[in-house]
Symmetry: C2
Subunit: 329 residues, 2 copies
């Protein structure tokens, strides 16, 4: 069946605000250097104001993936919650620029649009303070069943599990997908998340068609210590496991098929932020364009390689051209 | 069926003669530093004499494997040709010390026992000059059918293909193995060897049960460029492929099974000589002791890790104890 969209991405809608700062700024504001810390609204706005002039870009894991997916030429739709405030408008405008369809209604009241304050020190380290705000309020009412049913794959970020409303909405979205014959893809997002929701994620596995996990996440998910044990567990499951291994590349396992794909060669790593997001973009593009697991995995590796070669979680080049230059599209 | 031997190893019987030398020695004797050069008997004996006092140890790829196999507690028999001369006696005595059964008759005349002159400079680099001598003369008459039939696995090193007599003997040994129900394992030994005999090796694949190849060898064998393509080719073949990847560990592929096993962690590499030989020792031990592919691959990795942590191609510790200490035996 032809779908209006290849992928519907569902996640925390976050605006990244970046600014260069001095080392002293981190000390003055007690920011843990190089870390990602969840903060409340007061602290986020205080930090934001203190930064002075900032660059604002739409962020969030699944939103980053959809931006990469669109850059590859894929047809995407995004679902995620912002408030009708300045940052919410900025997020919406930024998503529109990427070419991703985005219709989730803006909250009129309640918490402000989520923001991630990124203080960049002269040594190019990124220290992040994240306020989830309105993103946490994504609810069942925001699940656009038509958009999901019109998509070949529904892609959900695990981060949504940290907010009860967003989690309930994800479960509803999966139900909609199953009824419509839309495949469900899920990214484990973070090993600590699996520490909190591992039992739920494991119980959910039979309902998932595609799972993305890096090695630490997969170890936590399957409760094993060695990569080969991950692989055997993944093969015992009935879906497509895309297991990412940083400089070791990735392994794609799906029932009878196993592909061991090396990392894209010759990459000078600058900032690994967004590697998993762009890997997912490439892999989902391959899957929805009948490229087979091996070529999809290579394309995913190329997209990840692009994003880690510079600062920031979204591609800086047209990924479709990059993929074409490397004979992958 | 219970076998008298777990593995019969067949290869070039070579004595390694090592001595510390100065940098000037390499210059005086025009030895290419760090390389392995095939030389004639005159040059080998000249170099040997010039070295003064040497340490002599039995070497050769399959012989190294059998030494490691015995160190693990496996029951092994070795087939390989030496001449009845001083080095031939030394090889025989050294093999006896390892506990490997060894009955191949010594040549009474013809070329001298093979030797590999290893000049070790103060920077611990090893420069090798190899004279194959009597090892090349291994012939069909030396194929002890009883020993092969009494073994669970016949293990052959690809290096034998460089000598017509030894190659013919290997083909006879494989026939004996097939008739007796002995499995046949083969190590590709060297990518350059596949450059010379690739067509023969490829034609021989249906007769092999187990193949050892490092990544470069496997690329040459299957005529592909990417590791995943090697893996898919190996899975299309009907045997057990043990694919070694240096610091990336190994992949074991056998029909429906695929295992991706990381390199043994925390190893400080001193000298990679013999890594493949000891990997084979560990893997063959696992296979002949019903350890399954995953545990066999881990044991193989441990044996390889031991040998690369010091100079020399044979283990310096009791491998059985080492494996027990790591809960692998």
């Amino acid at each position: 069946m032809a779908h209006t969209f290849d992928v519907a991405g569902l996640g925390n809608a976050i605006v990244d605000v970046l600014a260069p700062v001095s080392e002293q700024f981190l000390l003055d504001h007690s920011i843990a250097k190089g870390a990602m810390t969840l903060v409340d609204e007061h602290r986020a706005t205080t930090l934001h104001a203190a930064l002075g002039e900032t660059v604002e870009v739409a962020g969030g894991s699944a939103a980053n993936t959809m931006a990469g997916f669109a850059s590859l030429g894929g047809k995407g739709v995004y679902l995620g919650k912002v408030k009708q405030d300045r940052l919410g408008e900025a997020f919406r405008a930024s998503m529109k620029d990427t070419g991703v369809h985005y219709t989730t209604g803006m909250a009129k009241d309640g918490p402000s649009t989520a923001l991630c304050v990124i203080a960049v020190t002269p040594d190019e380290q990124r220290s992040m303070s994240t306020y989830l705000g309105a993103a946490r309020e994504f609810s069942e009412a925001d699940v656009n069943a038509d958009e999901i049913a019109a998509s070949a794959i529904l892609y959900i970020e695990g981060y949504m599990w940290d907010a009860p409303s967003a989690k309930a909405a994800c479960i509803k979205a999966m139900d909609v997908a199953h009824k419509a014959g839309t495949k469900v893809a899920f990214t484990m997002s973070d090993p600590f998340l699996i520490g909190r929701y591992g039992d739920e994620f494991r119980a959910m596995m039979p309902k998932l068609d595609i799972v993305f996990a890096n090695e630490e996440e997969a170890k936590a998910l399957f409760e094993v210590d060695a990569f080969d044990d991950i692989l055997q567990k993944a093969r015992g499951w009935n879906g497509i496991a895309a297991l990412t291994r940083s400089e070791k590349g990735c392994v794609i396992a799906s029932k009878g098929e196993v592909h061991v794909i090396d990392a894209w060669p010759g990459v000078r790593v600058r900032d690994t932020t967004g590697a998993g997001d762009q890997f997912a973009a490439g892999f989902l593009y391959g899957l929805t364009h009948d490229m087979g697991y091996a070529r999809s995995g290579r394309l995913a590796g190329l997209c990840a390689a692009e994003v880690i070669s510079h600062y920031g979680a979204r591609p800086e080049v047209n990924l479709r051209k990059l993929a074409a230059d490397n004979a992958l599209i």
